[in-house]
Amino acid sequence: MRRWAIHLAAGLALLWAHPAQTEEVVLGLSADKVSITTSFEGSEILIFGAVKRETPIPEGPPLEVIVTVAGPSAPLIVRRKEKRFGIWVNVDAVEVDRAPSFYAVVTSGPLRTVLRDIEDLRHKISVPRAIRSVGAPQSISDATLFTDALIRIRSRSDLYQLRESAVSVDEQTLFRTSVQLPAALTEGDYATRIFLTRGGQIVSQYQTTIDVQKVGLERWLFELSRGQPLIYGLMSLAIAIAAGWLASAAFRMLRT
């Protein structure tokens, strides 16, 4: 009897401790691999899924979905120009420790209502949070302006995207959305995260990767330029000289 009570208590505790387990994501992607070919013009990836649950839909605030796709991260430097001696020159610079080469956030509602700030801080979901910048020099008091600029510049070329209310959720169970990958894409593993939230609280999360890779001629040239740079350089020169000679020969034939 006593033993049974302990089991029940443990079970209940487990249930309370992991409320997230009651709702799980079952995911589908239109493609888990993006091949960059010579005629690559960007790619649209459809992300769709369902919420699996063993219990009825909980009462309270409705289920919301947040999808993020992040390209490989790299450190970078943001520089700011100032007028010195009449000309505009780079003066201040802030190093950003990690910034994804691509980052998209797609939500089923306004970001601030579907996600609490504290959860955003913990899981680094919104665009500014996905960028990590710590080491701004003492002399720069307005370091946030530099990360703002980074986001502004990358947003302009669709490398950073925030699309609110772009995930459609049916019956709190089925959801679908799409992420547009621009043409200027870097190779690598694109981490894709799906968060289910209720009242701004994350109740479940799911993670997968989209593999973005150069293929065919692109792959071959890239490998050659890194692995055999001298041969690659000589080949480039040979092609250049051959093209120059061909064009000149072709023109001579046209003339006569």
Binding site: I36, T38, S39, F40, E41, G42, A74, P75, L76, I77, V78, R79, R80, K81, E82, G86, I87, W88, V89, N90, A93, E95, V96, L145, F146, A149, L150, R152, I153, R154, A183, A184, L185, T186, E187, L217, E218, R219, L221, F222, S225, R226, P229, L230, Y232, G233, L234, M235, S236, L237, I239, A240, I241, A243, G244, W245, L246, A247, S248, F251
Partner: protein, 304 residues
């Protein structure tokens, strides 16, 4: 038609690249300049990363110069002997230039220095050429042919050599020095250097304009080939797909340009080149003087 560039990692319109290559190719053939001083900024503008633009441009200049020099060889307007002397200087200069470039990069602000170099050199050369050509045109209109300066301090130097094609008997020191300084500037500014060498050959060495173009193209081929290999092996920034697209447009343009150049008078050719150089200089100067629309720029950490 969009095309993805494997090294630059951007997607651009193929016809835009062909067109750019063609226009710059025409100018290159007309004036005997590689066209790098025009093409490199244009490539920045369409979103090619600067490091890739500079390296690939060197490769493309090889192609357009080769095509151009063949046309000049046919007309026997290449002074091979002078070309080789300039080339020796050029290779030494290019190697020195790379050292200077890396030193400046370690100090930061290399971008600004490159731009200032452009503004100062393009401004001075463009201005001088413009004034000189205007005077020459005015004199020929007045009935008197423009006199060629036959003797100046250059003729007093030792190690004299006969350059038959140019009709010169001068010391090898000035052409060597011209080669070295052009090589240094070429490596720093990421161009072939024709726009500096052509006026230097005309005004400093006193070479006939007809020979200058072919000879400068001859020298540029080797210096830019050297630069291409240097970039390919150290920075991995030569994008062959980009280069092929530019050079297909470029070599065709260069052929057309060479033919236009033959039909035009030397003074007209020079005044047009001067105007072009001044226009590029003005644009770059404005960029430095006017407040940019975006004050911030993203750079990769640890270099560039």
């Amino acid at each position: 038609m969009q095309i993805y560039l494997p090294i630059a990692e951007v997607s651009v319109n193929a016809f835009l690249l062909l067109g750019l290559g063609g226009i710059v190719g025409v100018l290159s053939g007309m004036f005997g300049v590689g066209g790098g001083f025009l093409m490199t900024p244009l490539l920045f503008f369409i979103g090619i990363p600067p490091a890739v633009a500079v390296a690939t441009e060197a490769n493309q200049i090889v192609a357009s110069s080769f095509s151009g020099v063949l046309a000049h060889f046919k007309r026997k307007t290449v002074d091979l002997r002078m070309g080789v002397v300039l080339l020796i200087g050029g290779l030494v200069g290019a190697a020195l230039g790379v050292v200077v470039f890396n030193y400046l990069r370690a100090q930061g602000q290399v971008d600004l220095l490159v731009r200032l170099c452009y503004v100062v050199f393009l401004g001075v050369i463009g201005g001088l050429m413009f004034i000189e050509s205007l005077n020459a045109i005015r004199k020929t209109r007045g009935g008197k042919p423009a006199p060629r300066k036959k003797h100046n301090w250059i003729h007093g130097l030792p190690f004299k050599m006969r350059f038959r094609v140019s009709g010169l008997y001068i010391s090898v020191i000035p052409p060597l020095l011209v080669g070295v300084s052009v090589g240094i500037l070429a490596a720093i500014m990421g161009v072939g250097g024709g726009f500096i060498m052509v006026p230097a050959m005309i005004y400093l060495l006193g070479m006939p304009t007809k020979v200058v173009v072919g000879t400068s193209l001859f020298q540029i081929i080797f210096v830019t080939a050297f630069t291409t290999l240097l970039h390919a092996t150290t920075n991995y920034t030569v994008d062959i797909v980009l280069a092929v697209l530019l050079l297909v447009g470029g070599v065709i343009g260069a052929q057309i340009g060479t033919r236009i150049g033959v039909k035009m008078k030397a003074e007209q050719l020079r005044i047009l080149l001067a105007m072009l150089v001044l226009a590029v200089c003005g644009k770059l100067a404005l960029d430095l003087l006017l407040m940019p629309t975006e004050l911030y720029a993203i750079g990769t950490a640890g270099g560039h």
